[in-house]
């Protein structure tokens, strides 16, 4: 077993599993992993359509950050022995379709999608941070740091989206509401299944 890259408390890639609230941590890691996976696919879809346009570099940069996030959650998933959600193949397709679909509405459409998704994700991370703080900030210090950092990254993506005229997209408020509803459903399902 390769050694974990982050400072984990036990040897190899394992973390001390005794004493943590396994059901809560399980859900958190599973849903976050699914979320980062979905975000990856969304940006992939957007790149497929807008890769060669003027916003291509911006999308690629955000996509690379999501790839790092996903890698980190892969590590955490192994370390905490969490199972991934069964719906991963579904999020694979749905994410790509959402990204490509929003990109077909134009650059502003893609940015609107980014704003909607990143806002959902930041709110979601915030509530997880609250949950962990209520549980035991000391015990989950490392996890909290990671989630806080990622939340800040997602917030940044959200702001980048706004800077690039997301709000001028066609049917912005409808689009945003629909996408955020989808995100809520995805979060609900991925936590459980």
């Amino acid at each position: 077993l390769p050694a974990g890259g982050v400072s984990l408390r036990l040897c190899s890639t394992r973390v001390a599993l005794e004493g943590i609230n396994k059901p809560v941590i399980d859900r958190i890691i599973r849903v976050d992993h699914a979320g980062e996976y979905g975000a990856n696919r969304i940006y992939a879809g957007q790149m497929a359509v807008l890769g060669r346009s003027s916003v291509g570099p911006i999308i690629r940069q955000m996509w690379n950050q999501e790839k790092d996030h996903l890698k980190k959650f892969d590590e955490l998933m192994v370390a905490y022995r969490v199972r991934p959600t069964v719906l991963l193949p579904f999020w694979n397709v749905a994410g790509f379709v959402l990204g490509a679909g929003s990109a077909l509405l134009g650059k502003k459409g893609a940015m609107a999608c980014t704003v909607a998704v990143e806002e959902s994700i930041s709110d979601h991370y915030n509530s997880q941070i609250r949950t962990l703080m209520e549980e035991d900030p000391e015990k989950y210090k490392e996890l909290l740091q990671i989630i806080k950092r990622f939340r800040d990254d997602e917030r940044e993506h959200h702001d980048i989206g706004l800077e690039h005229d997301a709000e001028a997209a066609p049917a912005y408020s409808v689009l945003k509401t629909a996408i955020q509803l989808g995100c809520k459903a995805a979060i609900f399902l991925s936590e459980r299944i």
Binding site: L1, C11, S12, H33, D74, V78, R81, R83, P84, V86
Partner: protein, 294 residues
């Protein structure tokens, strides 16, 4: 997911009550569980901390009967463990539990704490075997990490783990088909499924599985299939030391490895094909363009 039987824990003077009911001479006091740390930890997880078989604290503690509050769950575990010895003779029944209770100096009425179909006894046994397997795999892993043993290739690891786990059934093999059918009763399915899935997950974990995609499910499903079919073969195996079973196991594991390789090959072929088609399309469109230009 570590799961054992989890009746609600309540500090109960069960041992005291049953002792009053018992007709027999008390042998060793059951009292000496006071140093057991039951008051601080819920007993239905962390199986590595639970000693197997009769608790060492019950031997040679003198004649004192201190006021102990052994939890009901701990008491039940002790009775069930003691009952296992009588399973080859009585099967997975209340009789075996009653005999087990007798060896602990309790009344045979203690068997009334359990279902009459022997469910808890079987689940307890399965849980105990799973714990033993985890400990075994943990020790092996330590040896590998210390460099004192070679890391096994995946197929051999899986074979050895499944064989080690199935060998634990050998002392009870006559009565095991009965146990399997009881485990399939609707009211037992959640527990037995839970125990099965956590055992399979454990084996893959120690085998070094780090998948975080759908492979996580595929691997566990395949291994579950291998385990269950091998178990069934074992029930009907009459060869010396079950060598037919282990050969069956080896073949199934090899099949599973092949399946993985085949899946990869199919994927590579598919990708190569797609690239070929794309190249052909580009070539054709270039040819068209150059012809149009001329």
């Amino acid at each position: 997911v570590r799961c054992q039987l989890s009746p609600p824990q309540r500090p109960l003077q069960a041992s005291a009550v049953l002792r009053r009911v018992s007709d027999e001479q008390k042998k060793e006091p059951l009292a000496s569980s006071s140093q057991q740390q039951f008051d601080s930890h819920p007993t239905d997880h962390q199986p590595e901390q639970e000693p197997q078989g009769p608790r060492p604290s019950y031997t040679g503690q003198g004649g004192q009967e201190s006021e102990d509050y052994e939890s009901e769950e701990q008491l039940q575990h002790r009775i069930l463990t003691a009952a296992l010895e009588f399973v080859p003779e009585h099967g997975w029944t209340a009789e075996a539990i009653a005999e087990g209770a007798k060896t602990l100096g309790l009344s045979v009425a203690a068997a009334g704490m359990f279902h009459s179909d022997g469910s808890e006894l079987i689940l307890h046994f399965v849980s105990q075997c799973n714990t033993k397997l985890s400990e075994l795999l943990e020790q092996e892993q330590k040896l590998v990490q210390l460099g004192e043993a070679e890391k096994k290739p995946t197929d051999q690891f899986l074979r050895d783990a499944v064989e080690a786990r199935l060998r634990m059934l050998i002392p009870y093999i006559e009565k095991w088909p009965q146990a399997l059918s009881i485990l399939l009763l609707p009211h037992n399915i959640p527990s037995s499924l839970n125990l099965l899935t956590s055992m399979i997950d454990d084996i893959w974990h120690y085998a070094g599985d780090q998948s975080t995609d759908f492979n996580w499910y595929t691997r566990r499903a395949v291994l579950t299939g291998i385990y269950n079919t091998t178990e069934l073969v074992m029930m009907q195996d009459s060869s010396p030391d079950f060598e037919d079973t282990w050969r069956f196991l080896e073949n199934r594991v090899a099949d599973a490895m092949n399946m993985g390789n085949t899946a990869n090959q199919v994927q590579s072929t598919g990708e190569a094909l797609v690239q070929g088609l794309m190249g052909a399309a580009v070539t054709v469109s270039n040819a068209e363009t150059s012809r149009a230009v001329r």
